[in-house]
């Protein structure tokens, strides 16, 4: 038995133990004993086991690290969602199962990505069209018009555009590094951001913009580009604060949440109460107050997680994310292939920005803009996209990190 496989086994059993305890607690919450959470826990553990064996047997060097780390996140998310809304948890269960399948398929198939790396024009066009279609046919949802409905299935195109955006960016920048090329690329990024801004999806717009900056910097290595990019972001932020009421509301709620607690700053104040109430060790699963927190299964899931599991678990979750991101960056550094390097760095940064923006937002570190917490929040589009991005990272990492 290798050292690595021993690590994996310890991690896997820790994950099992965590899930068993949590789902048992959920089952004990009602009297008489409710077996449904147990079934879900066992079902989820079965899926993890199948996924794990598949990864270990068929993957080149049996790298199961990203798979296990992401399932820690999905697991805690699923437990929280079950605790908040049982119905949602059944659907999330299916999304996670689908996500794991996507992850495994992409892990195997993405090694044939070579010819995709020249199709940036088509991919970029596709992203823009998808976002434009959303604006025309989109449905409003929680203040943002970023949902599409096709044959009764609702999804968020901006989530899938994340994948396209990373592919387009990497394939273009890998051999277009001149200032003129950067200008063209900036045009593309700004179009994406503008389309998202029109949908009032501020958080996602900022994620794309920042990821664009990372792509340019990684490709060129010139510090001037990120400097200009951040200056543009600052100017854009000030301008939209002055022009758009919905941007102003978010900033004001951040600067002084106490001015209008029942109104503008309702979300952030409820989130802070929850995080504060949890303390280091939490109130215990099922003993918090998710009913006070808006969007508790999606954007504000971190708040209820900290309330019930405590800040220590919250910090552990942040560290799990960091492990995933750092591992991807290390794989990128170990590689000598420009496409791989750009894709790994870009995708990892994109997930990192998303994580940072929502955790920073719900804790009032930065203004709150609603985006999902990758792997944890409820949502099919979010789960599938996150697993797809992770699959790409995993596929490219295999053989790079020992």
């Amino acid at each position: 038995m290798t050292k690595a496989s021993r690590y994996y086994r310890v991690m896997l059993f820790t994950l099992y133990l965590f899930l068993i305890i949590c789902f048992l607690l959920l089952a004990l919450r009602s009297t008489p004993f409710d077996p449904k959470p147990i079934y879900m826990g066992l079902g989820y553990m079965a899926i993890i086991t199948i996924g794990f064996i598949t990864m270990r047997i068929f993957a080149l060097n049996g790298d199961a690290m990203l798979f296990l780390l992401s399932n820690f996140l999905c697991g805690i998310g699923l437990v929280m969602i079950y605790r908040v809304d049982e119905e949602l948890a059944y659907r999330q269960f299916i999304w996670i199962a689908g996500g794991i399948a996507v992850f495994i398929v992409i892990t195997f198939l993405f090694k044939y990505y070579g010819h995709m790396m020249n199709g940036y024009k088509i991919i970029a066009l596709l992203s823009l069209v998808l976002l434009a279609v959303t604006i025309i046919f989109g449905k409003e949802h929680g203040g943002s018009t970023n949902w599409l409905m096709i044959k009764g299935i609702q999804f968020q195109p901006s989530e899938f555009v994340k994948i396209l955006f990373c592919l387009a960016s990497a394939s273009f920048l890998k051999d277009h590094k001149q200032p003129r090329d950067v200008l063209i690329y900036t045009g593309f990024v700004l179009m994406v951001v503008l389309l998202l801004f029109i949908q009032k999806d501020l958080g996602t717009a900022i994620i794309f913009f920042l990821t664009g900056i990372v792509f340019v910097y990684t490709a060129t290595g010139k510090p001037a580009y990120p400097a200009i990019g951040l200056a543009m972001l600052a100017v854009g932020a000030v301008a939209s604060y002055l022009i758009f009421a919905h941007v102003r509301v978010r900033f004001d709620a951040w600067l002084n949440p106490w001015l209008d607690v029942p109104g503008k700053s309702y979300q952030i104040v409820q989130s802070l109460f929850a995080i504060g109430a949890g303390g280091l060790f939490g109130s215990g699963l099922g003993l918090g107050h998710p009913e006070y927190i808006p969007a508790v299964a999606t954007d504000l899931i971190f708040s209820i997680m900290v309330e019930e599991f405590g800040l220590l678990v919250g910090l552990a979750v942040i560290i799990i994310y960091l492990l995933i991101f750092v591992r991807a960056f290390l794989s990128a550094m170990a590689s000598n292939n420009a496409s791989k390097q750009l894709l790994l760095t870009g995708i990892s940064s994109m997930l990192a920005f998303q994580t940072f923006i929502i955790i920073g937002g719900v804790t009032k570190f930065i203004p709150l803009t609603g985006v999902t917490l990758p792997f944890v929040s409820y949502g099919g589009s979010s789960i599938l996209t996150s697993f797809c991005l992770l699959g790409i990272m995993n596929s490219l990492s295999i053989g790079e990190v020992q």
């Binding site: 990684t218 490709a219 960056f329 990192a352 955790i359």
Partner: protein, 462 residues
């Protein structure tokens, strides 16, 4: 080489998340606690549902506020009607808390004095806790009598035991019945007589002639031949062109200090104030507790004696006018210095905290708060105050068989009827109770405030 760039991205990412973690720890350690006590936090009320709120009882063990449990329903019931409202306050999910209910919320919920281990055990075992009882120094019968004596007029009264500092009654009129807070909220909140406002400790008024105790103390201790002086009163005094009249323009003629106090002669006290000077006046006002933040069981307003910057201000301030402002509690403290041989005991209203079995967890100790005057001075002022009630402006406070000492005040208010004041104590040779009474825009202190004080004293000493 792209590897260097990636390394920089990695470092930036780790830094960014380290900042976030640092911020979260800072939040946990420093900002969390103040945040959680916000009235917007509904978790606090959840906590409250788990415990039975402790009772508020008076000095004789009579419940003023109690939690009544009927089946699963808990309700807060108050005894004492409108007389206790501004003092006890209310505890309401919708309107928040006030008064003792607010100031001692944590004790009443049993959150403050229980050690974390006990709380943890109760949590684990699911024991529905009971908060602590708060025992007041208030005599609820006296409180009601005093409140009724106002007959709905705007005003306030403070009665205390000068030897201990225990507040026996703290009345603000008009009050409100805490039982009716839900029903009457809009009216109470917008009511022009502000019934929610505790005038006894939060109201600041020009004290007028009751303030004369302070220049009198300063004169007794600083002017050697005070008793030999003769003051000439023409009913009006000219200070730098400002004519300050005596009450009703009465000319008291040639009088000594004893008579000046009995008739509350403004000319004499202006004369004394100018003779003492701003420095002495300010010093003595400070000695009696003006301009000093008192640590009290309820939120209070500090009484002010602004250092006079002109002769006119000095003259006016020595008869308790100009910008001198005092709360009824402050004036009760002034009287208690005279009653208690120069000692002002630290006033308090919460005597102790006890658990449901009656075990007292906290017991307030008496302590001297200020020592503004000597025992001799106190005795001299006491003699004069006895005469005020016997044959001066305060005859309306006379009680047969009891020697009452007092001082009246009629504080002028621009464009309105004067505030009527009375401060005093009884029995003069062994004071058991000090009272300070104000009737807002009530007119003459001797006619309006003194009878209320008389009522309170005779009820307490009967």
């Amino acid at each position: 080489m792209m590897k260097r760039n990636i390394r920089n991205v990695l470092i930036s990412t780790v830094l960014l998340f380290s900042l976030l973690i640092g911020y979260l720890l800072y939040f946990e350690i420093f900002t969390k606690d103040t945040l959680l006590t916000s009235d917007y936090n509904r978790r606090l009320w959840e906590e409250e549902n788990k415990v039975t709120r402790g009772n508020i009882v008076d000095r004789n063990g009579k419940a003023i506020a109690e939690t009544v449990t009927e089946g699963n329903k808990k309700s807060r019931v108050y005894h004492g009607g409108a007389s206790i409202g501004p003092l006890i306050g209310y505890n309401n999910k919708q309107y928040g808390r006030a008064g003792i209910e607010a100031a001692y919320n944590k004790e009443l919920l049993g959150m403050k004095t229980k050690d974390p281990l006990t709380l943890f055990k109760q949590d684990i075992l699911g024991i529905k806790g009971r908060g602590y009882d708060v025992i007041l120094t208030i005599d609820s019968d006296l409180q009601e009598t005093a409140y009724d004596a106002f007959g709905g007029e705007k005003g306030a009264a403070v009665a205390l035991n000068p030897k201990t500092g225990e507040i026996l009654a703290l009345v603000s009129s008009p009050g409100f019945d805490p039982d009716d807070i839900d029903k009457d909220w809009e009216e109470l909140k917008s009511g022009k007589n502000s019934p929610l406002f505790n005038r006894a400790v939060q109201g600041l008024y020009p004290p007028g002639s009751v303030f004369k105790i302070i220049p009198l103390s300063a004169s007794l201790e600083n002017i050697d031949d005070l008793y030999d002086l003769t003051f000439h009163c023409t009913g009006s005094t000219d200070v730098d062109g400002l004519k300050i009249k005596d009450y009703n323009g009465t000319a008291h003629g040639n009088i000594d200090i004893n008579r000046a106090v009995e008739v509350s002669c403004n000319s004499t006290f202006i004369n004394l104030g100018l003779r003492l000077g701003a420095k002495d006046m300010e010093e003595y006002a400070g000695k009696f507790g003006f301009n000093k933040n008192l640590d009290f069981d309820l939120p209070i307003k500090t009484s002010v004696y602004p250092g006079p910057s002109s002769k006119r201000e000095l003259a006016l301030s020595s008869i308790g006018q100009a910008d001198v402002l005092a709360s009824p509690l402050q004036m009760a403290m002034v009287a208690s210095a005279v009653a208690n041989d120069g000692h002002i005991m630290h006033p308090y209203i919460v005597k102790g905290i006890a658990d449901s079995e009656g075990k007292v967890n906290y017991n307030r100790q008496d302590e001297t708060y200020l020592l503004p005057i000597s025992e001799t001075t106190a005795q001299q002022i006491k003699d004069m105050m006895v005469n005020v009630v016997k044959k001066g402006t305060g005859t309306a406070a006379r009680i047969s068989g009891i020697t009452v000492a007092g001082k009246t005040g009629t504080a002028e208010v621009a464009g309105k009827q004067s505030h009527a004041w009375f401060i005093g104590f009884a029995p003069a040779d062994d004071p058991q109770i000090v009272v300070a009474v104000i009737v807002e825009n009530g007119g003459s202190g001797g006619k309006v405030a003194a009878p209320i004080a008389r009522h309170i004293i005779s009820e307490y000493l009967k």
